[in-house]
């Protein structure tokens, strides 16, 4: 355990087991679920809700249940508050959880959040008793509105879903962190371990990664790398880094040199 208990992440009163959220999208084979979870030790694992023609669906759900990991259904692909709300309701029914990663996107190409529909859906789901974790932009004003609407956390994007571009605007993520008093989970864009570490150093409370793991050449290794990156960034944030300065500062004493 790399983070002391006193440093546990708590969302909506629930103590989570780590600061890494894992998405399962793009997973090449269900057989990788167990080793990936063992390497990542995620706090939650996200799943999508889709029509099914068989109960098994490749056994993903069974594999996740066997691992005893907390599931976080999302409303990926929803283009309106209405769609997102019914999808969340079905997720609650199917998975017996009232937690939802709320996604309402503006279009299917950019997959960027539509914050107007997102705010409507968030308010309605909170009213219906959901614990809402909204996937949002890196706009601190919207983050504050989501919290005012009752969201249990905010999940600003670092860069577009699946882009692997990391945190394109660190300044904005710091502003989101400063704007709200709920956990901030960096969502979307993480491509590698240093992205996850940076997000935590900027003040995020957790990081979500999906494609970065599932589409890496070695998903299990990347799961481990991201887990270490999240812990590294969290501890570094707490350690109080040295200030950046334009000029050098000797790390060896000047006095006492010979000759």
């Amino acid at each position: 355990m790399t983070t002391p208990c006193s440093d546990d992440l708590v969302i909506a009163g629930e103590v989570l087991s780590s600061r890494l959220f894992l998405g399962t999208g793009g997973l090449p084979q269900v057989a990788l679920v167990a080793p990936i979870l063992a390497a990542a030790r995620p706090a939650v694992v996200t799943v999508s809700i889709r029509r099914t023609s068989s109960v098994a669906e490749g056994g993903l759900l069974a594999a996740l249940r066997d691992a005893g990991v907390r599931l976080l259904p999302n409303t990926a692909g929803c283009l309106s508050a209405r769609e997102a709300v019914i999808t969340a309701e079905l997720a609650r029914e199917a998975l017996e959880t009232n937690w939802v990663k709320l996604e309402v996107i503006g279009d299917e190409r950019s997959l960027l959040p539509d914050v107007v529909e997102l705010l409507d859906a968030a308010a309605e789901l909170v009213r219906r008793g959901f614990t809402v974790l909204p996937y949002s932009t890196d706009d601190p004003v919207i983050a504050r509105r989501l919290v005012d609407a009752g969201c249990a956390a905010v999940m600003p994007l670092g860069s577009p879903i699946g882009s692997g571009l990391g945190v394109l605007n660190p300044h904005a993520i710091e502003a989101v962190r400063a704007a709200v008093d709920v956990p901030v989970v960096l969502d979307a864009g993480v491509g590698t371990a240093s992205d996850a570490a940076l997000a935590m150093e900027l003040g995020c409370d957790a990081v979500l990664a999906a494609t970065a793991v599932t589409r890496a050449d070695d998903p299990v290794a990347m799961a481990r790398a991201l887990r270490l990156g999240v812990d590294a960034g969290r501890i570094a944030r707490q350690a109080g880094r040295i200030p950046r300065q334009a000029t050098a500062r000797a790390s060896s004493p000047v006095a006492g040199r010979i000759g």
Binding site: V47, T52, V55, L60, L90, E93, A94, L95, A210
Partner: protein, 68 residues
Amino acid sequence: MTITHNGEALALEARATVADLLVLRFDDPRPHGIAVAVNGEVAPRGEWAGWMLVEGDVIDVVTAVQGG
């Protein structure tokens, strides 16, 4: 009668219930880890056995799949 199941037309005997549909499609009246929407509203698991379908109903049966 004819209903729409996951976007496709499906012929059912009159007076079929949600449970009947699930048996037909999943050989199980209460499959685990799924949810059912009838005409865009959730049909709670507890009501499947008694929920009578009618001509033109739109049924969605969903489960959890891979997702980011």
